[in-house]
Amino acid sequence: MKNRVLILTAVLATLSSPLVLAEVAVIVHPSNNNTLDAATVAKIYLGREKSFADGQSVVPMSLAESTASSASFNDVVLKKSASQLKAYWSKLVFTGKGTPPKELASEDEMLKLVAGNPNLIGFVDASKVDASVKVAFKF
């Protein structure tokens, strides 16, 4: 009986895990003192804002769309599904008006790049954040 409960619990946890969105942190270089909110970050990631408030140019970095952090970021910050986002960028890419943020393969790579470049902005699972980067905000 105890084993069945354990197995059932494990199965439920596995099945329900995609529905539980992990907390995501928007990260910048530690030297970046700009105040960032979701609306500003959305403009940056949609190619409508090219600089931080202090005038420093900004380069947004994204994660592969299959990651939970990316799905959560698209949903909460950009308010678009992956398909909507791809359609949005299709209009820009094929008219020469913009290119989507570069997609990184892992959150470790994101942390490493953002920690080494003041122009970058990224996002990772909040549990992965370390002292090498600064958290602009979490959601």
Binding site: R48, K79, A82, K91, T95, G96, K97, T99
Partner: protein, 400 residues
């Protein structure tokens, strides 16, 4: 004139191709993107006329609306980039053409200047009308996106982007030219045609869930061929009859000048809005265009679409209308009754064709880079060879 333009196009394409693909000494990042549509389409009319050419009545064709494109863009750093897009579609036997070939320079955060061969932003969605994945229709409504032959031009363009509080304003101005062939609905044939001194400007103001847009496109017609092959032959009988009934050489010369398209000004403009709110989608676009002070009739067309997004499915219904209005002002001052009647008759011939219809489209995003679409359209065309018709299609649009 045409040969000169062809030579210039080849030079442009060659230059951009070399810049894009042959970069031995520059650490350029070359990005490859592409889009494709594979669509089976059936039309009940056997007219086979534009804007639905190449169909056999009732047959399912996987060729006519299928297309492929691949785009290479080289980032040369410091804001400089070179882009080439190779494009082929079934309507032209998948003959590959360099649809885009241009070099861009990002002047600052706000402005980017481009030179070369690129899309002509005739109407709001003209620049990406071939990218099916970018919209929810199987094809953008033909009443507005009728398939202009001058969809790609050579010139220079300035794209700008402004943030105004919570709103975003995008503008584009360009100068260019085009030479090629254009479809004449009067004769149902393609004829040599050109647009010189193209000047265009448009703007889109966007909030979180809405867009307002408008633009204008003006050009000087290079229409000597359409005059000699279409306009003047239509008038020849009337002119001969008028001459036999006392029309002077001066009256005939003045009359022909009024009928002609060559060196006249073409004016296109569009306006509309788009809404994407709580998964409800509304799109409206109204366009008005024609060759001023000529036999050409002014076209006034529009479409209105209402859609709803159900997770990864979008259902859209739309209605569209393509109309032409006769305006005989260009004949003011023509006093000979035969010439006047001939002019009105030719103008009516140019204004004869109208069509409208309603459609239902379904988009299903079944894959991160691909959408399945199906649609049904029921329309009426005033041309006797087309008349009432229905069409349906299904297929896949993808981007990569």
């Amino acid at each position: 004139m045409k040969l000169q333009n062809k030579a210039r196009q080849h030079w442009l394409v060659g230059s951009v191709l070399l810049t894009t693909l042959y970069l031995p000494s520059v650490a350029a990042e070359v990005k490859l993107n592409g889009f494709a549509s594979i669509r089976g389409t059936s039309v009940s009319s056997d007219g086979g006329l534009a804007p639905y050419p190449n169909y056999e009545e009732g047959e399912l064709s996987f060729k006519t609306e299928s297309l492929f494109a691949i785009q290479a863009s080289a980032d040369l750093s410091e804001g400089l980039s070179a882009t080439i897009q190779l494009y082929g579609d079934g309507a032209n036997d998948f003959s590959v053409d360099a649809r885009w070939a241009y070099i861009s320079y990002q002047l600052n955060d706000t402005h980017r200047v481009s030179g070369g061969r690129f899309a002509n932003p005739i109407f709001h969605q003209s620049e990406y009308e071939k990218v099916g994945y970018a919209h929810n229709f199987s094809r953008l409504p033909k009443a507005v996106y009728i398939g202009f032959d001058f969809s790609t031009i050579e010139g220079i363009a300035l794209d700008s982007q402004y943030n105004i509080g919570d709103y975003n304003l995008q503008t584009k101005v360009l100068y260019g030219s085009w030479a090629g062939e254009s479809f004449s609905a009067v004769t149902n044939n393609f004829v040599d045609f050109g647009l010189n001194k193209i000047m265009s400007g448009n703007a889109t103001l966007a909030g979180d869930w809405w867009q307002l847009f408008g633009g204008v496109f003006a050009a000087e017609i290079d229409g000597a061929v359409i005059d000699s092959t279409t306009v003047f032959p239509l008038a020849a009988g009337g002119i001969a009859f008028a001459t036999a009934n006392g029309a002077t050489a001066a009256q005939v010369a003045d009359f022909k000048n009024r009928l002609s398209w060559d060196k006249k000004d073409a004016l296109y403009w569009f306006s509309g809005f788009a809404v994407d709110y709580s998964n409800w989608l509304v799109d409206f676009e109204y366009v008005d265009y024609g060759v001023k002070d000529s036999t050409d009739a002014i076209n006034t067309s529009w479409y209105l679409a209402l859609g709803h997004r159900f997770d990864n499915v979008v259902v859209t219904i739309h209605t569209e209308d393509y109309a032409q209005k006769a305006d005989f002002d260009f004949l003011n001052g023509v006093t000979h009754p035969v010439l006047l009647a001939t002019g009105k008759g030719i103008h009516n011939a140019f204004a004869q064709r109208e069509f409208d219809g309603v459609g239902l489209s379904v988009r299903y995003d079944f894959h991160p880079s691909a959408a399945f679409k199906a649609d049904y359209f029921k329309g009426t065309d005033t041309r006797a060879a087309v008349g009432d018709y229905q069409m349906f299609s299904f297929g896949i649009d993808l981007v990569f």
